[in-house]
């Protein structure tokens, strides 16, 4: 998407990106814990828990620059195209892959954009729960997208990514975020097994993700 945008917008987007990462670091001292993978250039799908709108910027912030440039968050089109500011931040600053999550409104296959991004070699950040988790359970049931990606791109590492503490930093209904320390933990990558069915795989993926959560998040 950045390729067709004028230079000044591109510069503004990069600058905004650095500013957001700086703010995230200053407020939450956000830190990556590379438990199961190394911070190296490799095509991956980071699948993460989703409790707040700050999840994606947190993961994006802790990725080193060389990885960040090649990583695209998958995000909801209805959210990021709502106004001009969001349309700048979502697609241009974060370089999001936008998908329409409303089945009644969409015209093309939502997986097509994702497959295209994977084909061009980008890494992705996805939230397989689909919606923000407002329940007391650690995770909502996963949607099938993760399984489809694992099947169509078996060489890509699927990396469980737990964003800790954000429920306390910014609970639903509160206005002021608390500057507590946020940790993003990257676990060991998983792949879809040879003849593993969808439900078994999604269960295994969810278990791998929850296993990374610190006790106080559960």
């Amino acid at each position: 998407m950045t390729r067709q945008t004028p230079l000044y917008r591109w510069i503004a987007a990069r600058f905004t990106g650095h500013a957001l990462a700086f703010i995230a670091r200053f407020i939450t001292a956000v830190r990556a814990e590379w438990r199961g993978i190394e911070p190296v250039d490799k095509q991956r799908v980071y699948f993460a828990n989703h409790v707040s709108n700050a999840d994606m910027p947190m993961i994006w912030t802790v990725l080193p620059h060389h990885m960040r440039a090649k990583t695209r968050p998958v995000a909801a089109a209805d959210y990021w195209l709502k106004n001009k500011l969001r349309a700048f931040v979502g697609p241009e600053v974060f370089n999001c892959v936008l998908v329409d999550r409303r089945p009644e409104a969409r015209t093309d296959d939502p997986m097509a954009a994702i497959r295209e991004a994977l084909d061009e070699g980008s890494s992705l950040i996805i939230f397989p729960e689909g919606n923000r988790n407002m329940t007391d359970d650690p995770l909502l049931p996963f949607r099938a997208g993760l399984y489809n990606m694992g099947q169509s791109h078996p060489d890509v590492d699927l990396v469980p990514t737990w964003v800790a503490n954000l429920t306390t930093i910014m609970p639903k209904g509160e206005v002021i975020p608390l500057p507590l320390i946020c940790t993003v933990t990257f676990g060991a990558p998983i792949h879809v097994g040879e003849d593993e069915d969808k439900d078994a795989f999604l269960k295994r993926a969810a278990d791998a993700l929850v296993a990374l959560a610190p006790e106080r998040d559960l």
């Binding site: 001292a29 830190r31 503490n165 306390t168 609970p171 509160e174 002021i176 608390l178 500057p179 507590l180 320390i181 006790e215 106080r216």
Partner: protein, 312 residues
């Protein structure tokens, strides 16, 4: 002017020590077989690098004067409070009181210290925050673990804001004569506490026998005695930058050092209880701000009050 010269003398001395340690560290690394790495040497060098940065930062702040020192310690309070409250017991009902702690109580405390409002800054957190925050939490109507929640929040404020703010409060003690001397008093306080800690650590490792609380920390009686003695000796040597005589400076240093070491022990107990090794990873090789400051935190109020008593 004189203060600046004195700070630069002290800086020169510390740089000499750090340079010597860096040379030793690099020599040790040079002896490790190529392609291998020795974790003890690596940790030592990482810590040394953090020490270089902290010493340079602290020196620049001290040279800039009282306002810079005030801001430095206000930021230290913020970083410490962030680490502490990350691990305390809390629920959504505490959200507003925690936000007040960060964004209202912490800045106000430093404003009171900055404007030398002694009557206010010594009671603000122990009395007014102590009464206000539980009310704010109670209004949200959640009684689950209520006492534990409000108590841990209050503890966090006392430790990370109230105690730390007593370091820049030393600027207000104004011993007879030169008021620039108060900046040097802070330098003196921080140096003797840190040197006591370092020597306690090394002596404890070399010849420590009797552990004082084996289930909590490797601290030994021998290590502590050595550390306090070294702090007292440093205090005596540095007495020329303080308003105290040689004997009094040594006694003050020993007092600060021993309080600091017990503070360190208390923090070891809290970390065990919360199941964490370090409070965060913001200072490479040392853990978090709280890991670095725990002894300073405990020693500060005691040092402050004794200084007030001694300067009458």
């Amino acid at each position: 002017m004189e203060t600046t010269t004195n700070i630069l003398y002290l800086f020169g001395g510390v740089v000499a020590v750090l340079s010597a340690l860096t040379v030793v560290g690099e020599a040790l690394r040079g002896r490790v077989a190529p392609g291998r790495s020795n974790p003890v040497v690596q940790t030592f060098l990482t810590r040394l690098m953090s020490w270089w940065i902290m010493v340079i930062l602290f020196t620049i702040t001290a040279l800039l004067g009282p306002i810079a020192l005030m801001l430095l310690f206000a930021f230290a309070s913020f970083a410490a409070l962030r680490e502490f409250l990350t691990f305390t017991d809390k629920r959504q009902a505490d959200h507003l009181s925690l936000a007040l702690a960060f964004f209202v109580i912490l800045p106000l405390q430093y404003v009171f210290v900055g404007f030398d409002l002694t009557g206010l800054f010594t009671v603000f957190i122990p009395v007014y925050a102590f009464l206000l925050l539980p009310i704010v939490s109670a209004l949200r109507g959640d009684h689950n673990r209520f006492l534990a929640r409000v108590a841990e929040t209050q503890w966090a404020l006392m430790i990370c804001v109230y105690c730390i703010s007593h370091v820049p409060a030393l600027l207000n003690t104004k011993p007879e004569g030169d008021s620039g001397q108060t900046v040097l008093l802070i330098v003196f306080f921080v140096m003797v506490v840190q040197i006591g800690d370092l020597m306690e650590y090394f002596a404890g490792r070399r010849f420590g026998r009797r552990q004082i609380a084996p289930t909590l920390s490797p601290k030994t009686l021998e290590g502590m005695v050595t550390g306090i003695a070294c702090a007292a000796a440093t205090g005596a040597i540095l007495s020329w930058i303080t308003p105290f005589g040689i004997g009094a400076a040594a006694a003050m240093a020993a007092l600060a050092s021993v309080t600091g070491m017990f503070g360190n022990l208390v923090f070891a107990a809290i970390k065990r209880d919360k199941g964490v090794k370090d409070w965060s990873h913001l200072i490479p090789g040392q853990g978090g701000f709280l890991d670095q400051l725990d002894s300073v935190i405990f020693a500060a109020p005691v040092f402050y009050h004794v200084t007030l008593l001694m300067s009458g």
